[in-house]
Amino acid sequence: MGTSNPSGGAAPKEEEDEEMEGADAAEEDKSQSDGSDSASDPAPFSEGEKVLAFHGPRIYEAKIQKAEVLAGRWKFFVHYLGWNKNWDEWVVASRLLKLTDENMRKQKDLTKDSQAQERSARSRLSQKPSKTDVKPEKEDAKNQGSKGKKRKSAPPNEEKEKKPQESPLMLQFPLTLKKQLLVKLPRSPNVDDILKKYLEYRTKKDGVINESVSEILKGLRSYFDKALPVLLLYSKEKSQYDEIVKEGVSPSTIYGAEHLLRLFVKLPELLAHVNLEEEAITKLQQKLLDLLKFLQKNQSLFFLSSYDTSKAAVKAE
């Protein structure tokens, strides 16, 4: 709930579940209670009351839906304001605070603390804050008093693990974009290898060498070699390029499918200078699509399944 800590939702819940299951037990451990929430005392909070509730490392605005004595203690079924009711849960009084100014300040402080913790935890995983950092931070900045935006029922750590989309164009981009990690170089197979393999595949299938396809592939290689250092790199990758690609070496012999895909993004711009006929363009698109499908079919061969975490530093080594 607003934290990236996967156990954020689990810990308190477990505690409550245990107590729910133990509802028939005679005596409860009273070490947690402040004394005022035993069955004999009046309820410290009332139904319908707005309160502040601890959940994980943070405090959220909540509303008491029900107040009952369970297993000798007052328990409160709370709904966290702005959150899906799937998050509603039974809590003991010690989890709750009255909605006072002093307690609101406590909430702010805890929010800042846990945000800082999250940020440092994330930076241990990847050098740069990932794109997904933006969401929770923005939210909390906007809404000091409550959880604000309504969230879907899935806990936040699941939201991040989006399935890569089907098309090969999107296949590797989410990884590269979010984690900002470097591709280990040189790649094998490299762009050169891949294009050769594709030509072999095509020739076998057609039973004859397709002249158009040959020229297109040569054209792609030319574009790739010229475009890579100028148009196809994230700034983070530039120092790696300077280090690895020496004078006279073609990028198409160093880089692989991940960067080849980026060329496709730039192709329309580049081809605009060629003034191709309508029909030629259509045919070209078909052939490029065929190449993409070939990449997709062979993705386990051409694409990396993991990135180089040891070289995630921004500085060149």
Partner: protein, 121 residues
């Protein structure tokens, strides 16, 4: 290699390879002229100067497609280049200097906005 007799005003010299298949029913010179004419027309869209530049493969691709469409047979890249060689000294051609401008300005790669939006959904 077969050298054909020179024809006045038609062509300076013939390509070393005769055009293939379907053109054989026509007099060679006639179909050769047709091809050459079509090629010269195509150059309106695909300036020969570009054949030395960074786009050369795609320009050549355009020419191949054009001729293939006109004559309903396949053309090889070599064939097209040889045809062109009759009219231009391809090696002497210089591409527009503007061409390399697209590779001059260094910019960081980024995904097009539309793909990014889909990702975040």
């Amino acid at each position: 290699m077969v050298r054909e007799e020179e024809q006045d005003g038609v062509s300076v010299h013939s390509p070393s390879q005769a055009p293939r298949s379907s053109a054989s029913s026509l007099p060679k010179e006639q179909s050769q002229v047709d091809i050459e004419l079509k090629l010269l027309q195509a150059l309106e869209m695909y300036p020969p100067a570009k054949l030395q530049g960074i786009h050369r493969h795609f320009v050549l691709y355009g020419l191949i497609e054009y001729l293939q469409k006109c004559f309903e047979r396949s053309f090889s890249a070599d064939e097209v280049l040889q045809l062109l060689n009759q009219f231009f000294n391809l090696e002497m051609l210089k591409p527009d200097e503007e061409e390399m401008e697209i590779f001059q300005k260094e910019e960081e790669f980024s995904l097009p906005q539309i793909l990014l939006v889909k990702e975040e959904e």
